[in-house]
């Protein structure tokens, strides 16, 4: 039993990271209807910025704050410069643009920092909390705490601030939002900035567990897609729940289903994506839109 609980805890730790990147995906999807394939690479690039700051001698938390600020500005800039020109273009065009962005950011990181792996400092203390035969590392607790805090802040922003209300209005009906005086272009840029910031958090959380290298987020992105699909692409809460479920499912499948083991567990998100799309395309928390005319 303790072994099982142990696996679940490990799964939640991994899931929280998928959840944070899924959250970034969902944020942009909500605003623009764009699935941003470059989200993971942007997170990776942000993580390199954090690494660079730490390497330059800055204390970790200061480096983090700086990284989040740069990521926010970078996200807004990308919206203005790269996404704005194709706004309103067919979905395929926009998907290709984000795939192009993926390749570009990946190559840029390799060019600047090389493809050699780098050690990324773990902001949380080593050691673990032990209770009833289950040990939870401070690192896992830290990851869960950070993701919960990000979720809480986003909730406050969207539900309890005027700017958050404006952002939701733009996400629902941009034409009407413009008519009540909301600067829609600026709001979309804000959404991209916010998503890039949340993505940066995800990168910084994942880097100490893996190693920092330009392809670090590739796998995480797949899990985040599974999480967003499972939770519903239009639901931030669903993204987090989806991330946790995907993390736990993957860990348990790897531990208990003999044929899967640790080699095949990367197939789990694929199975989840396929299953959700077949059975409940809007996701667990997604809204199947019902309206009276």
């Amino acid at each position: 039993m303790a072994g099982f609980v142990q696996q679940v805890v490990e799964g939640l730790g991994a899931g929280a990271i998928y959840a944070s990147l899924a959250l970034a995906l969902v944020l942009i999807y909500q605003f623009t209807g764009i699935v941003n394939f470059a989200q993971g690479e942007l997170a990776m690039f942000s993580t390199y910025i954090a690494w660079q700051c730490v390497a330059a001698g800055l204390p970790f938390w200061l480096a983090l704050v700086l990284t989040l600020a740069v990521s926010f500005a970078g996200g807004m800039l990308i919206e203005r410069v790269i996404i704005r020109p194709v706004e309103g273009a067919p979905e395929l065009t926009i998907v290709i643009v984000t795939v192009g962005l993926f390749i570009f950011v990946n190559a840029a990181a390799g060019w600047i920092w090389t493809f050699l792996i780098k050690d990324f400092p773990n902001p949380f203390p080593g050691g673990a909390l032990e209770a009833a035969g289950v040990s939870v590392s401070f690192s896992t607790l830290g990851v869960l705490g950070v993701v919960a805090a990000v979720m809480g802040l986003l909730y406050l922003l969207f539900q309890h601030t005027k700017i958050g209300l404006g952002m939701r209005a733009v996400a629902t009906n941009p034409a009407s939002a413009r008519l009540v005086g909301i600067r829609v272009g600026r709001t979309l840029a804000l959404g991209w900035g916010l998503a890039a910031t949340v993505g940066a958090v995800s990168g910084v959380l994942v880097a100490p567990l893996l190693f920092l290298e330009p392809n670090m987020m590739g796998g995480v992105l797949i899990y985040a897609f599974a999480a967003a699909t499972l939770g519903g692409f239009d639901s931030p809460l669903g993204a987090v729940a989806g991330g946790l479920i995907v993390g736990v499912a993957e860990t348990l499948a790897g531990a208990y289903v003999g044929v899967i083991g640790s080699d095949l567990k990367v197939g789990v998100p694929l199975v989840i994506i396929l299953g959700v799309l077949l059975l409940r395309p809007q996701g667990l928390f997604g809204r199947a839109v019902v309206e009276r005319a």
Binding site: A169, A175, S176, A177, R178, V180, G181, I182, V289, R292
Partner: protein, 238 residues
């Protein structure tokens, strides 16, 4: 004075021109009805006034130029447009929809006060504050759209076919409220309407638009008395 002055207004979509030089003036505090058949350019005219479509020509409100500005800037100058299809923020609650109407205003206390005022105009909305706006009936959504527009404390209110899809009783109630608002708050109103009877009932001035040009202008009484209009839009001979 914040009269609405429109002169030589040209507008359209891409290469297709819809309005070919429209000119009229609405005095502050008056209601102006725009009548005309389908495809005459009535909706485009409102869209041109609120900046949704590009225009050439002159549009000024109280001396401030509106032509050529973006919809969000025009809204900030006090123009509230209730668009065709009502522009409801479907998944948001009724209260959030109303608060969005006051998005560009400062002064929390005044906004709260205005919310109260909207509830006295539309008591039904007060009973549905926390409900998703998309779940309202058509008539309720039209009231919500009007309430949202009023939350801006507009100097100019643009109404596009408020009667569309509504039961006659609901429509009459809606026009009664528009008239009350116009009387109490001196809001200038431009209303585009298929139901000429109702529109002329609350308007001082009216213009008949046909294929992008104003073919007839006058006071509401003059327009109602015009035989041509009577035949085309009122459905009877005088």
């Amino acid at each position: 004075m914040s009269d609405l002055v429109v002169a030589d207004l040209v507008a359209g979509y891409g290469d297709a021109r819809v309005l070919h030089g429209v000119s009229f003036t609405v005095r502050e505090g008056e209601v102006c009805a725009i009548l005309g058949p389908n495809g005459a350019g009535k909706t485009t005219l409102l869209r041109a006034l609120s900046g949704v479509v590009r225009v050439r020509g002159t549009v000024t409100l109280g001396g401030t130029t509106l032509a050529g500005r973006s919809p969000d800037t025009i809204a900030r100058h006090g123009v509230a447009h209730v668009p065709e299809g009502r522009g409801t923020f479907m998944p948001l609650t009724v209260e959030e929809n109303l608060r969005l109407g006051a998005y560009v205003r400062r002064g929390g206390a005044e906004v709260e006060e205005d919310l109260g005022r909207i509830y006295t105009y539309f008591p039904v909305l007060k009973t549905r504050l926390k409900q998703a706006a998309g779940s309202l009936s058509g008539g309720e959504q039209q009231m919500l759209a009007l309430g949202r527009a009023l939350m801006l404390r507009p100097r100019l209110l643009l109404l596009d076919e408020p009667s569309l899809g509504l039961a006659p009783l609901v429509t009459r109630e809606l026009f009664r409220i528009v008239q009350a608002i116009n009387a109490e708050e001196r809001t200038t109103v431009v209303v585009v309407e298929q139901n000429a009877h109702l529109a002329l009932g609350i308007a001082q001035q009216a213009h008949v638009l046909e294929t992008g040009r104003i073919v007839l202008s006058g006071t509401a009484a003059e327009i109602r008395a015009d035989e041509q209009v009577a035949q085309s839009y009122l459905g009877y001979r005088v």
